[in-house]
Symmetry: C2
């Protein structure tokens, strides 16, 4: 069954995924003679770099999400369909979605990344992750609820378990999350829970590598580790996890930790769509050439985290970063415009690496930028300014600025709310 | 099993419910020689008058909710327990909760109101209501999702049904909701859905009474009806609903409406706790004397929506309004202080009626105040100022101000997000 989409004289470009890559591409095609059909299972774009703020009650979910229809309201060649894409049918030139089939002239897969567990099914089933807004909100709920449970219990072992947090994965996400939890511990939660001894709250950041932030400079790794230890985070390096039964994590070297809160930030892989030939996959991502074309598939492209531009210079593709996604999207728009004009001379993708940043707590960050490496408060200001500027939409920036400024001066977050969806919705929906 | 609460030399006042009444009472007991134990199933207070704004994507949920621990962080005699109270055991002087028993010296029931359906079970099962934040968010999700579905369907009858909204109940809540939907229809949704003919969106406000806002002045009723008709709302008065099968509402006079969206704002009753003797109930509320004491129960009080101060002057209690709840709470604190000192001379409750207000759309409201009746933009400003001032916490006020100002000048709400909780949470929680 075909999804109801207006007929157009122009070729149809179907973009799957409204993350950085998909959004940027859709915008960049604004003036082109194409019909842009953007498909995403949510009706909003998520600003992922700040998910950890939602998870630790530092920002409202609405501050980092923006309705897609709002963003594209003035773009005439733009169509949005809220649906989950289930399969690519290259032979029929269509994608199968949760609401029916959508035919394409050109398909661009920009579905991003998902958590990877390397076969550790215990963690896949029991650890919390933080890749989406519902996940970040759920993490926030569980953190806060576990403190409520800790207040109630007289079983000291259980209490300690509820107040122990283990983050697995010492990349930027894990480091930022650990720093934010450290801030909650020192500054915020003691006021909320005068009955608890917050010094008993334990935060562990574990990684199997020998240093944190292995994709950044050694100076950044050292700074991050120092900052975290100063913020009450116990850093375990060279530690590989083996199992988790819901109460205790066991490490490969036999060590163990009793905890009710395990957060997995240790790996991501491409959110690849079923239906593509297996030979196009490369380490969990979709292999493309330097024009973002998927090998062996005519008129299928892939950009962003899900894609890997495999060349001699980049045998494993580029890092899964927002600037990569945005640059690939802009270039693809240029190349599509050329293809539409019958021009087969395309531009190759060359990544302009402007650097990587990660926060650690409220005042500090580490930044490896093209013009220098910074650690400390200066890096934090750079990080804050950059994120504010790239938040989509002026309103979101203003709300985030109000929240952060307030939080900064009041030493609290004010967003420690446990809000769960109501269960009733199932009843209402089934009768429609 | 007793809930873990620190032992105190002072008498314990257990307050059930963190709405306007419960919160005000807990605060007013700050300096008294009591241990205040506040129990609520959520860890936050909801500013209910603005729930309709969340339901129609005009405000973020976080703007109208405030964590209880935050509010009372500097109050030394205050304890909070997140739990649902299941039963009152007056003989044992304790309440049974979802986390165990809590003993009390004085019990104050401030559980508020819940929707009443007058035996119309179709509506109890299938209509949406808006009494809590999760319900308001769910309503927002369903409204937005139905527009997404409307875009997809080629079945014109189904499309019209998805774009038809019937609000049952012409009191302030129904009027405010209808006005907000009218605003969405005229100003916001046409930009989001260029493929839909938004003139086909139908909004009905139905009530069995002969005028809207029957608790307000005839001038207010007339103004509200005029405003709503001007905002694209079809007002059906003298219309009593009979049934709803999920597709069609049938009225007592035989008329019918095909709709996927039924919102019930037609009745509320007290959220009475099990365990009280049946003779204390009066029209769904707990009957109290003018000192808020529950008849025949020693040391049990009730305030706010759930209570009815039944006297010669007020045979049916007072209206279910925030000012009533707040005034009753303040007086009860005074009376409890006297009782603690052994002083049996208590003050009677006399409601200082300062008036009622309701908004209708973005620019207009109706207000019956003690110093005059107002309709139109002036009433709207009064309403906005009052609500801003009573929002708990400066941060929430600033965020709401930013949102509303932005919305006012940009003619849009920007919060049209469909965010649902993830389903995974069940897996994580069961292993703890």
């Amino acid at each position: 069954m075909s999804v109801n989409i207006p007929v157009s004289a122009n070729p149809r470009v179907v973009i799957v995924g409204a993350g950085f890559a998909g959004l940027e591409l859709a915008k960049a095609l604004k003036a082109q003679p194409v019909q842009v059909v953007l498909v995403d299972k949510n009706n909003y774009h998520t600003f992922q770099p700040l998910l950890y703020q939602v998870a630790t009650a530092g920002l409202e979910p609405d501050s980092i999400t923006y309705p897609i229809r709002e963003i594209f309201r003035s773009q005439k060649n733009f169509i949005f369909r809220m649906a989950e894409v289930l399969e690519v049918r290259a032979a029929d030139r269509c994608v199968v979605t949760s609401i029916g089939e959508i035919a394409y002239d050109h398909l661009v897969i920009a579905t991003g990344a998902k958590s990877a567990y390397f076969g550790l099914s215990d963690f896949e089933e029991r650890a919390l992750s933080m890749k989406t807004v519902p996940e970040a909100v759920e993490l926030r709920n569980i953190i806060l609820e576990n403190f409520e449970r800790a207040v109630l219990t007289t079983d000291l072992v259980r209490r300690d378990s509820l107040m122990t947090f283990v983050i697995i994965g010492g990349g930027p996400t894990g480091v930022e999350l650990a720093g934010a939890l450290g801030e909650l511990k020192k500054v915020v939660l003691p006021h909320d829970h005068p009955e608890l001894d917050l010094t008993k709250m334990m935060i562990y950041l574990v990684d199997m590598e020998s240093r944190l932030l292995k994709t950044m400079s050694p100076a950044a790794s050292r700074s991050a580790e120092q900052f975290l230890r100063k913020h009450g985070v116990d850093v375990w390096l060279g530690s590989r996890v083996r199992s988790y039964d819901g109460q205790m994590i066991v490490f490969a070297d036999g060590k163990s930790l009793v905890t009710s809160n395990v957060i997995w930030t240790a790996g991501v892989t491409g959110a690849v769509l079923p239906g593509l030939p297996p030979e196009v996959l490369s380490a969990g991502r979709i292999r493309t050439d330097s024009f973002s074309r998927v090998a062996g598939c005519s008129n299928i492209f892939a950009i962003g985290d899900v894609a890997a531009v495999v060349t001699e210079d980049t045998p494993h593709g580029h890092p899964m970063l927002a600037p990569v996604a945005i640059q690939q999207a802009k270039l693809l728009a240029v190349n599509l415009a050329r293809l539409l004009k019958g021009n087969s001379e395309l531009k190759s993708f060359v990544y302009r690496d402007m650097g990587v940043m990660a926060t650690v707590g409220r005042h500090e960050a580490v930044a490896d930028l093209s013009f220098g490496k910074f650690q400390g408060p200066l890096a934090w200001f750079l990080w804050a300014a950059l994120h504010l500027m790239t938040l989509v939409g002026f309103r979101n920036r203003l709300v985030a600025l109000v929240n952060w400024t307030w939080s900064y001066f009041r030493y609290d977050s004010g967003l420690r709310l446990i809000i769960r969806a109501k269960d009733r919705c199932a009843v209402v929906k089934s009768s429609q």
